[in-house]
């Protein structure tokens, strides 16, 4: 087993690790706010649940990059890496979704909390409330894209 493999697996692990941590953070925060709203007005359950789920996608993006990476470096498919350079490249390719996933999920969670407050006061403004957290997610999507494009084009 080469050192390259170690780096590549590290990268794959990091993307699920950090992006997942960010999502757990964000969804957790939003869930607390959502529970508060439902305790006052149970009819808003479906709406605040959707808002709570929005910061959850980063974790999935992280998982996605991990899976693509693992399926290319000989763990779930593909060919094993023999040199350190390629392994390092995989590691760096995973970093965008790992780091941006963490930060954007945290901030998307905070935005969701604010929007859950908005829905609590004005339930008819749900369409707009959903859009604000989605704005934050744009950057996670861009990071995901770069990670995927890089991983699929190495080697």
């Amino acid at each position: 087993m080469s050192l390259g493999m170690v780096f590549a697996v590290l990268g794959a692990a990091l993307s699920t690790l950090f992006a997942g941590m960010g999502s757990a953070w964000g969804v957790g925060m939003a869930g607390q706010a959502a529970a508060g709203v439902v305790s006052e007005d149970p009819e808003q359950f479906a709406k605040v649940l959707l808002l709570q789920l929005l910061p959850g996608t980063q974790g999935i993006y992280g998982l996605l990059v991990t899976f693509i990476t693992l399926s290319r470096i000989g763990i779930l498919g593909g060919t094993a890496i023999t040199d350190t350079h390629t392994g390092l490249m995989y590691l760096f390719a995973c970093l965008p979704i790992a780091i941006v996933g963490l930060v954007s999920a945290y901030h998307q969670g905070r935005t969701s909390v604010a929007c859950i407050g908005l829905v609590a006061k004005k339930p008819d403004q749900f369409g707009k409330a959903m859009l604000f957290p989605a704005m934050v997610e744009t950057y996670a999507i861009l990071a995901l894209l770069i990670s995927i494009l890089t991983v699929t084009n190495i080697g």
Partner: protein, 673 residues
């Protein structure tokens, strides 16, 4: 396809027809009444506040009674309440119910009274339980708790704040009394914090013994009953039983009204509608013999309503010209496909009159983009079949929910289409099943009709951006159409055509370049004339923007500066186009997560146990994936419409059409002809 043209009507009629006219308008539900502009000193408005709040209170009583009926005599559900909508009833039903509304209201009040008694009984039970709890340490006391003396002795019944034995107590109580002390003590029960005791002494020693006891913390019991504690406990338990039986009786009494549930619903809506009518009535200006009102109606209904009112009630109805200051309410009318997306538009904001209703164009892009993001044939089939079943099974859906279901039905079909294009059916389920259970070893069975995104993501990214450019160009085109419609040709050339030329030129210059070829892995070679043409378009467009963008300014320096700033807006276009990369990212996410689920499901091999585990994991995993990705697709399709597309042309700010109608919550009244 459009915003419905509105017509303003003014009505003047005799007072004696007031009730009939208002009821007709309310049942029609197509007129938005407003009366703010009719002002005259001789006109007065009727104060209907009291009648209105009376009706609202009645409606509320019925609502509460219905909730209680649901709690104590639950109805058998014939499906998911979310999709049930309102039950359709005939007008004669309403008349029948309105005739007996007094007795119905009495019944509802009876239910509310019962509920109040139930909670009182519940309170009593709690009180009794607390008392039983407090009497527990006194159970072995054989005399009433408030006994203070007999003929010759003094009796102390009370508590001490700590554990104490009878010897210690005797010693403490008989302190400084001559030996042998005529004191008898007994400890009834003891814990760390509380000891219940009785002390008996001769009457003459009473004062001394009491002092002694006080010194070690003696106190009278906090809960005193004038009976023997054991007997009192039995009494209390009997009372609890009685109260519980009471509650049962009251609940049964409430449940006995279950047969009137439907009448309650109709009555609740009847009173709600009357409250609504009185609200409008309170705003109507009137004299002693006549009343006046104005209202918006959809233009194609104006004549029908006008003749209806004048023929039946001799009202004077006139069509009014729309004044400058009037804000026409917005009502959308679209074909069967596009009306499904009206809710999406409404949650951003309705268009104003004189502007374009983008629902039709938006609905087409909406469905396509949603399909590209979810992009799995299996998920798409699940979606549109589920929506079709719901639409078929619950015809009385609330209009908002119904539109949503229709929208997802179309989105489901689009998802199926894109799934086939990308070769996704529950991820790669067919291949995995073939390999795991049937020993298939060949190439993939399911072939993408177009290509697999994961194999060539760059190629799909270019396509996504192309779709983005088309979407944005159409948005810009709508703005151009509005310029032309208002006759502003200069504006059309300098704000719309210039941008088309500028952007198209830039794209044509970029596509054949080495940079693009190395990114996309594709080379384009255009005919020779395209190169110079692209330069002419780009430079021409740029010059027009530079000179014309700030055309409202007199100062040429400022005007050019504004133009230069607007050219800088091309970076906005770049980021808008890049934003469409989410079409690729979300499409990939669905597919890859689907594959991961299939892989996990197939890990247990091909035996019977493997098959069972496969089915369980497959169903759970794909349900989760379809849920989270459909949510993602929905949110991000909305975003592409709201931010990128609407950003190019759309101004919301229309006032929704809010006709005077029956305020029904439970039933939908069908008119009889």
């Amino acid at each position: 396809m459009a915003i419905v043209k509105m017509q303003k009507l003014s009505v003047c009629a005799n007072q004696k027809n007031r009730k009939a006219i208002l009821e007709t308008l309310q049942n029609l539900g197509t007129v938005e009444i407003f009366t703010d502009e009719i002002t005259d000193e001789e006109l007065h408005k009727k104060d209907t506040q009291r009648a209105r709040s009376e009706f609202e209170k009645s409606a509320e009583s019925f609502d509460k009674a219905l909730k209680l009926l649901d709690a104590y005599a639950p109805e058998e559900k014939k499906g998911l309440s979310l999709f049930m909508g309102r039950a359709a009833i005939r007008r004669s039903e309403v008349d029948r119910v309105s005739k007996k509304s007094v007795s119905l209201l009495n019944d509802a009040t009876q239910i509310l009274r019962d509920e109040k008694e139930i909670s009182e009984c519940g309170g009593n039970i709690i009180k009794d339980r607390n008392q039983i709890e407090a009497l527990l340490p006194w159970q072995s006391l054989g005399i009433p708790m408030n006994t203070e003396r007999t003929k010759t002795t003094a009796v102390f019944v009370g508590t001490l704040p700590e554990a104490i034995t009878e010897e210690q107590l005797f010693a403490a109580a008989s302190k400084e009394l001559p030996e042998p002390a005529p004191v008898s003590v007994s400890v009834l029960s003891t814990t760390h914090e509380l000891t219940c005791v009785t002390v008996v002494c001769l009457l003459r020693d009473r004062q001394k013994v009491e002092e002694n006891l006080r010194a070690i913390g003696y106190a009278r019991p906090s809960q005193m009953v004038p009976e023997v504690p054991a007997a009192a406990t039995i009494e209390l338990e009997k009372d609890i039983e009685l109260q519980e039986k009471n509650i049962e009786d009251l609940k049964a009494d409430i449940a006995s009204f279950a047969g009137e549930r439907n009448d309650f619903r109709i009555a609740a809506d009847y009173f709600r509608s009357r409250a609504e009518k009185y609200k409008v009535l309170g705003t109507i200006p009137q004299t002693k013999h006549a009343f006046f009102l104005e209202g918006w109606v959809p233009a194609d209904q104006a004549d029908r309503i006008a003749s209806l009112l004048s023929d039946n009630y001799g009202a004077l109805v006139e069509k009014e010209e729309t004044r400058e200051t009037d804000v026409e309410p917005t009502l959308l009318k679209n074909n069967r496909f596009s009306q499904a997306a009206e809710g999406v538009l409404a949650s951003y904001g309705l268009p104003q009159h004189g502007h374009v209703d983008p629902t039709f164009i938006m609905s087409i892009f909406y469905v396509i983009f949603f399909g590209m993001m979810l992009s799995d044939a299996g998920y798409g089939i699940v979606m549109f079949v589920a929506c079709a079943i719901i639409l078929k099974k619950y015809p009385a859906l609330e209009s908002g929910t119904k539109k949503m279901m229709q929208l997802f039905f179309w989105c489901g079909i689009s998802t199926t289409f894109w799934g086939l294009m990308y070769g996704g059916f529950f991820g790669d389920a067919i291949d995995v099943i073939a390999r795991t259970f049937f020993g298939y070893t060949g190439d993939g069975i399911v072939k993408a009709l177009w290509f697999e995104p994961l194999k060539s993501p760059m190629r799909l990214l270019i396509w996504c951006m192309l779709f983005g450019v088309i979407h944005l160009y159409v948005g810009l085109g709508i703005k151009g159409y509005e310029y032309l419609k208002s006759g502003d040709v200069v504006g059309f050339v300098s704000d719309i055509l210039s941008w088309y030329a500028f952007l198209t030129g830039l794209i044509l210059m970029l596509v054949p370049s080495d940079l693009f070829a190395s990114i996309a892995g594709m080379t384009f070679s255009f005919p020779a004339f395209v190169g110079p043409l692209a330069k002419i378009l780009a430079i021409g467009g740029m010059l027009i923007i530079l000179v014309m963008s700030g055309r409202g300014r007199k100062n040429w320096g400022l005007r050019i500066a504004l133009g230069a700033y607007d050219i800088y807006g091309v970076t906005g276009w770049l980021s808008d186009v890049l934003s469409y990369s989410r079409l690729l990212a979300l499409g990939l996410a669905t597919g890859v997560i689907g594959n991961v689920i299939n892989m996990m499901a197939s890990m247990f091999g091909g035996g019977p146990v493997g098959a069972i585990l496969f089915i369980v994991i497959f169903i759970l995993g794909h349900t989760l994936n379809i849920g989270i990705n459909a949510l993602g697709a929905y949110v991000h399709t909305n975003r592409l419409q709201y931010v990128e597309f609407f950003g190019k042309f759309y101004e919301a700010g229309g006032r929704p059409f809010n006709p005077f109608q029956n305020a029904n919550k439970y039933v939908e009244v069908k008119e009889e002809r």
